[in-house]
């Protein structure tokens, strides 16, 4: 019996040690997915820490809805698109964002509607996928817990998965400014319907969650909104707009200016097509030109 127990113990010891050693040495070679591209955006920000820049900040409505590349081209200022997925939440990377801003950076802040009532919102599964399978994320934002959890995650071997060539949700989805461009030659399934909640707005506590509101030049932009959503929740959305104005924040344009027919949406709630994004960004550029002057 003792021989058996010793052998089993030895087997477990060797196999677990070998596994975790390998895991440790492979920690920077995790298989990348769409979420991993967000880490690349943070790296672009870090690389431009000392440069004057325009930051486009929000969830995927920003990543898919503005072209930082076009802004940079037209205005000649480094522009980074940090919007990627609403599910990551916006609050967690605030310390990292603040560390990598210069005092004269400009932030175009475009939170999705959900954040107006829940600025601390994030989706657990999406965020977990980000930090578990992207060791560098925890390292970049200085979260040791995430680093450990990433270390304890599965090595994604990626075999058995279907090779889907017809999706925008791939790792190589960005241009050098961080805009999501993988959808540009694809046809999307069209947008999803969503509701707007009626709970009290938390604009008054925004500076607590988004400290750049107190320290930097910030311009609010509203997310691209489907006509049917505006038709149903127009009053509520206009109330949000009024509340932003009441807080004396600057705004690119109105909620109504960002209402588009369903046909120009690629998928999800806010993802617009590349052509629409260009028109929308041009409006932002003309506003920024005035603002910069």
């Amino acid at each position: 019996m003792s021989t058996l127990l010793k052998k089993i113990f030895f087997f477990f010891l060797v196999s677990f040690s070998a596994f975790f050693l390998l895991k440790f040495s492979l920690r920077n070679f995790q298989q990348k997915n769409y979420n991993s591209a967000f880490v690349d955006k943070l790296k672009i920000l870090k690389a431009n820490k000392l440069n004057r820049k325009i930051i486009l900040f929000g969830g995927s409505s920003v990543g898919w809805g503005f072209s930082a590349e076009l802004i940079e081209h037209k205005l000649g200022i480094k522009t980074i698109n940090l919007g990627h997925s609403m599910g990551f939440g916006l609050t967690e990377i605030q310390p990292f964002l603040m560390q990598n801003l210069t005092s004269d950076d400009i932030i175009v802040f475009s939170p999705e509607w959900k954040f107006y009532t829940s600025p601390e919102y994030y989706d657990t599964a999406t965020l977990e996928n980000l930090y578990r399978y992207n060791y560098e994320y925890g390292k970049l934002i200085g979260n040791v817990k995430y680093e450990i959890k990433s270390y304890l995650s599965k090595i994604q071997l990626g075999i058995g998965q279907l090779e889907n060539h017809n999706t925008a949700y791939i790792y190589n989805c960005l241009n050098k400014n961080g805009d999501v461009i993988s959808q540009c030659n694809l046809t999307g399934p069209g947008p999803r319907y969503y509701g707007i909640d009626n709970t009290p707005l938390k604009l008054d506590v925004f500076p607590k969650y988004f400290p750049f509101l107190l320290t930097h030049k910030v311009i609010f932009a509203f997310p691209p909104t489907q006509e049917r959503i505006y038709k149903e929740f127009g009053n509520r959305l206009n109330f949000i707009q009024k509340s932003v104005l009441d807080q004396h924040y600057l705004m690119v344009d109105s909620v109504k200016d960002n209402v588009y027919p369903q046909s120009v949406f690629f998928d999800a709630e806010y993802h617009i097509t590349c052509d629409t994004r260009t028109h929308r960004t041009e409006k932002l550029i003309s506003y920024l030109q005035k603002f910069i002057k």
Partner: protein
């Protein structure tokens, strides 16, 4: 409690150590611990299931005494009570809603609208397995091949021994009860074999079956949008997924039992190396097919009363076997397809051609004829699996239709690389290992070199640990046969 769960990883060593170090003084203590552990294992799903399990066990135990009566009418009465009791449990929990809906549809065909009461109860895990244990016990007593056991504890251990409780192998009273009634002694080589079987079973389930499932699930779920080539790959993938899932479970069950000094019946003997459908059924889910053979096919007359009776009985056991898997027309059709595949062999008296040894037993490789036979048998079985896997008969037909229509529309696809081809990364090594092991399914020993065997085991452990870590994010995937 799933075998591939953190709970079981804690449960098993605790029970093992208690069994051999604390409760090892006498048979009663050993059986008591097994019984308590089995109830904990089963109650992990829901304690409510335990009531049904305990009730069913007690009734079958009591019927056993009646069935043993020398008065044949009394024995027959108790036999029927045992059968009605077990089939009644299955009828209520597994089949009631199916029949109610069939009656409703039938009445609607003649213009009558009825609203049957449907039961909203969860299907207790492993119900089809332990009820069959109970029935085999009363059948064996009735046939005079064994006497009823005097100890309820011993009988309860036979029914609910945790490694086989939820998905078999379906044990026979004559095989397992004598082991329950004898004090188990520690046997080093049996333990080592048990550990090897468990490791191989875990690898088959957690790495191969769950790995293949990613592509297969997508293909079956979105079959209308897939090409014919993908659908064929999906069907082949499912053939291996279900094989690794179920035979993996059986290996873990056999291995776990060995750790407690028990030897269970083999459930799989490399079924995809079968040369015809008859051989396939002697190698696939052996404990179920032999159960139906002994307790249904032979009592119905088997093949002794002429060809017509044999054909009728063959169809009966295949259809019942299909229905045993679940209350759905898909399973019945699946059974029917196998019966049709079996029919030519029966009519030509070729159904007992490959009875004893596995293909190429005394050679390294099969010959061309054997290879062709194995391939055609596999493709036939794979075709039938489509009906087993997909929900709804119309979807199964749609899946097959899509393969034909899309092949005609785009024959060039077979020259291109299909999606999902990566599942062969799992299948090819599996086939090679199975081929190597094919002479003895109970001994997982790849080479005669200890160091090489250790290295292979460590590689397997690496992949298993990796998949276990995945359970930090998502719940472990259940075994397919737990649904039955």
């Amino acid at each position: 409690m799933l075998f591939n769960s953190f709970a079981f990883m804690a449960f098993l060593p605790i029970v093992f150590l208690l069994y051999w170090f604390v409760f090892n003084r006498n048979l009663k203590q050993q059986n008591l611990l097994i019984l308590v552990a089995s109830y904990v294992f089963y109650g992990w799903w829901s304690w409510k299931f335990l009531i049904l399990l305990a009730g069913s066990t007690l009734l079958d135990f009591l019927y056993g005494f009646g069935v043993a009566s020398k008065n044949r009418s009394k024995a027959k009465l108790f036999l029927w009570l045992g059968v009605i009791n077990n089939l009644g449990i299955l009828a209520v929990f597994k089949y009631y809603n199916f029949f109610a809906l069939q009656f409703q549809q039938g009445f609607e065909l003649i213009g009558l609208h009825v609203n049957p009461v449907l039961l909203n109860v969860a299907l207790p895990v492993g119900i089809s397995f332990y009820t069959f244990h109970g029935m085999s016990y009363v059948f064996d007593i009735y046939r005079g091949v064994r006497q009823p056991v005097a100890s309820f504890f011993e009988y309860a251990v036979f029914v609910c021994f945790f490694p086989l409780l939820v998905a078999g192998p379906i044990e026979r009273a004559n095989h397992l009860l004598p082991q329950v009634q004898t004090k188990r002694v520690f046997n080093y080589s049996q333990m080592v074999e048990g550990c090897r079987l468990m490791l191989w079973g875990m690898f088959k389930k957690m790495v191969i079956a769950d790995g293949i499932a990613i592509a297969v699930d997508d293909i079956f779920k979105n079959y209308p949008s897939h090409s014919a080539y993908s659908l064929i790959v999906g069907a082949i993938g499912f053939s291996f997924q279900i094989y690794c899932d179920f035979s993996g479970y059986s290996d873990i069950a056999l291995g776990t039992s060995k750790l407690f000094g028990f030897e269970l019946l083999s459930n799989f003997r490399f079924p995809y190396f079968s040369r015809d459908i008859a051989e396939f059924w002697r190698r696939w889910h052996i404990s179920l097919s032999s159960w139906f053979r002994d307790y249904l096919y032979i009592p119905l007359g088997g093949s002794k009363n002429g060809k017509l009776t044999a054909v009728r009985n063959t169809f009966i056991i295949f259809l019942v076997s299909g229905f045993w898997h679940g209350a759905s027309w898909n399973f019945i059709i699946w059974g029917g397809i196998h019966a049709i595949g079996f029919l030519p062999l029966l009519l030509l008296n070729k159904n007992r051609k490959n009875v004893t040894e596995v293909v190429a037993y005394d050679r390294k490789l099969p010959n061309v004829k054997e290879l062709w036979q194995m391939l055609t048998t596999f493709l036939f079985v794979t075709f039938a699996w489509i009906f087993f896997r997909i929900d709804g008969l119309s979807n199964a037909v749609g899946y097959c239709k899509q393969i034909i229509v899309n092949s005609i529309q785009d024959p060039g696809q077979y020259l291109r690389r299909p999606p999902g081809l990566s599942i062969y990364i799992y299948i090819i090594p599996l086939l090679l290992i199975d081929w190597w092991l094919r002479r003895n399914e109970r001994v997982v020993r790849l080479t005669n070199f200890r160091v090489v065997n250790w290295l292979i085991a460590l590689v397997m452990a690496f992949f298993i640990i990796n998949n276990f870590l995945g359970y930090l994010d998502v719940k472990p995937t259940s075994f397919i046969y737990f649904e039955f």
